[in-house]
């Protein structure tokens, strides 16, 4: 195969002519099955109540017990509750809902997300977070230049576009949810805000696992921000990123030095961070990238982007460890461009799963 283009012939196609008969048969047998099913279910109706976590498909009977409150992904017909989505059944107290396996991102309070500004409106920005609705970022929920303690003034309302404008990418936390399920965001912490020095890739949101930390420094001077909504930002590791990781080393040294040492250590740490905050607060809305992004960092970012796409292609959930393993596995391919080929993506996916199995910690974590 040439390195210019790879063309994969799809054999399976949609050859209706050849499968017509099979399908017809399938169809007719399908018609029988529900009959049996309904019988079966009406016989063993109680079995379904214990079915939390079970996978259902649209139209499948969940329960005939009317005591359940019907949540998302279900519908009610003639005293029975059916699923309206393909997913797993979840029961919270009396609320019965089906969580779809795939689909648009549904925000939850506390999610760390990455989004893109689509609209600058009256005291608010609209943010595309890959959900059903755009999220809202209120002017009052962002840090304004000039220090955290600054109050928003009227002139800020008029110059909102100088902070964030259409197209800007930012990371934020879901502060609360509105009645209709759309999210309200905030960036009132220095780990949130406008993103620079890199690029955005998108994966299905179901592949990003909610965890404590979504920002990871990766080998090769690259930092990844895994938005729970499936938007992933890859950038050059900044001073801030390094500083953020140091406190995690801090407590470890605290323990070794004892409680007194901890007191003396912590203030210095916090001082350095606040200074960083102050320095950066003026630049948090700058559109200028770090001028010192070297070609090798750019290549690393491209490589990570391809690794993440490969993992997503193989439907492997994204974690810090897996991205690093995938990256290491991809080093075997010196040409980053090869990573977009299907076989290569599959082999990287296999590698990641195998290595994780070998290390054995994937399961324990």
């Amino acid at each position: 195969m040439s390195d210019v283009i790879s063309v994969i012939k799809r054999q399976s196609g949609l050859k209706y002519a050849s499968i017509d008969n099979d399908e017809m048969e399938n169809f007719s047998s399908d018609e029988d099955v529900p009959m049996v099913d309904i019988d079966g279910k009406s016989n063993g109706g109680k079995r379904n109540e214990a079915a939390a976590g079970e996978i259902v498909t649209p139209g499948e009977l969940i329960t005939e017990d009317p005591i359940w409150m019907r949540g998302h992904g279900t519908y009610f017909l003639e005293n029975s509750t059916y699923s309206s989505a393909a997913g797993t059944i979840s029961r919270v107290n009396r609320l019965l809902s089906v969580i779809p396996l795939k689909g648009r991102y549904t925000p939850e309070t506390g999610d760390h997300i990455v989004g893109r500004i689509t609209d600058v409106g009256n005291k608010r920005w609209k943010v595309d977070i890959g959900g059903k609705q755009h999220a809202v970022l209120m002017l009052g929920s962002v840090n304004l230049p000039g220090g955290i303690l600054r109050r928003k003034s009227e002139s800020d309302e008029l110059q909102m576009r100088t902070f964030l404008k259409e197209g800007d990418v930012l990371n934020a936390e879901v502060q609360s949810l509105f009645q209709d399920g759309s999210a309200s965001l905030h960036t009132r912490s220095l780990k949130y805000g406008k993103l620079r020095d890199g690029l955005l890739i998108q994966v299905p949101s179901s592949l990003v696992v909610r965890s404590k930390n979504h920002t990871h420094n990766l080998p090769g001077n690259v930092t990844v921000l895994l938005g729970v909504n499936g938007f992933i930002w890859l950038r050059k590791t900044s001073k801030m990123d390094v500083a953020r990781e140091t406190p995690s080393a801090g407590p470890a040294s605290d323990i070794s030095e004892g409680p007194t040492g901890a007191k003396s250590l912590n203030p210095t740490n916090s001082v350095s961070i606040t200074r960083l905050e102050e320095e950066s607060s003026w630049k948090i809305y700058s559109d200028k990238n770090d001028p010192s992004i070297t070609p090798s960092i750019r290549q690393n970012i491209s490589r990570y982007a391809n690794v993440i796409k490969a993992l997503a292609f193989c439907e492997i959930g994204l974690t810090h460890e897996r991205i690093v393993i995938g990256y290491e596995a991809s080093i075997a391919y010196s040409n980053i461009g090869e990573l977009i080929e299907r076989e290569v993506m599959e082999s990287i996916g296999d590698d990641v799963i195998n290595i994780e199995k070998m290390r054995g910690n994937g399961a324990t974590e």
């Binding site: 210019v4 063309v7 012939k9 949609l14 050859k15 209706y16 990418v169």
Partner: protein, 266 residues
């Protein structure tokens, strides 16, 4: 699609570096992988479906009809384009339509003799193109799909006599036998210019920041008309060095054959 200023400048700086660093790490002459399935529509004489790595998808169906070419001098090939989510009279669709019509007439032109059945009757070919999704300019993808579809198109075999000017009879066809209509449709390549670099097959992000782009038609080992520049975005477009045009045409000339072989073998 709108990108942030920071993203654009990151991409632009990466692409203008020498050698260029594309966001997906491709070489300048490397295309995105595509998946092709042909002959999947049972009611068409030929069909193909192409899916690109970024999810762009295009379906082409070829149908044929017998017409009396002595009566009307209508075109023997008719292209119809539908892009999902676009009005049929939108500038994008009309521009592409006009381009595709010119592409099909490119080079030595469509060999009308291939479509001629008898002295009196010809096949008229209807090419219906449906772009299901596309993140960037679909011209190249469409031409690949058109090529695969026409490459696999089969038409009924004529059994009546060729010379029917004197005898009034309609052409008769064999009930089962099909003839392969080996029509070679030209390939269209999209070439983006960023700074002093050239890249083939720009993806959506690359399209957003490129200075300019060229559409090149290629058939039978040669670059043909139509060729034209187009800008894939309107915020970054600017002029470019004339030598890049020559370099670009050469780049296509070098790599087009590989694309053709890949498409033919599939």
């Amino acid at each position: 699609m709108t990108l942030s200023i920071a993203e654009k400048s990151y991409l632009y700086d990466s692409l203008t570096a020498s050698p260029s660093i594309r966001p997906d790490g491709r070489k300048p002459h490397q295309f995105r992988p595509i998946e092709v399935s042909t002959d999947f529509l049972p009611s068409s004489n030929g069909s193909s479906r192409i899916i690109s790595g970024d999810g762009s998808e295009c379906i082409v169906s070829v149908k044929a009809k017998v017409i009396d070419h002595t009566l009307s001098d209508e075109e023997l090939i008719q292209v119809d384009l539908d892009i999902a989510g676009e009005r049929t009279d939108s500038p994008q669709v009309e521009t592409l339509m006009s381009l595709l019509n010119k592409v099909l007439k490119s080079g030595p032109g469509f060999e009308h003799s291939r479509l001629q059945l008898t002295e009196r009757y010809s096949f008229k070919i209807f090419i219906d193109i449906l772009v299901i999704s596309s993140n960037c300019n679909p011209a190249s993808l469409i031409s690949f799909a058109m090529f695969s579809a026409l490459n696999t198109t089969t038409l009924p075999k004529l059994i009546s006599s060729f010379d029917d000017l004197k005898v009034e009879e309609l052409p008769m066809f064999d009930d089962y036998d099909l003839v392969n209509l080996k029509l070679k449709s030209p390939l269209v390549f999209l070439l983006a210019i960023v700074g002093n670099n050239l890249i083939v097959d720009p993806d959506a992000n690359e399209s957003e920041v490129c200075d300019n782009a060229i559409i090149v038609t290629w058939l039978d080992g040669k670059i043909r008309s139509p060729i034209r520049t187009l800008t894939l975005n309107n915020s970054y477009s600017k002029g470019f060095d004339p030598t890049l045009l020559q370099k670009g045409l050469k780049l296509i000339e070098e790599n087009a054959a590989a694309v053709l072989t890949a498409l033919e073998s599939s």
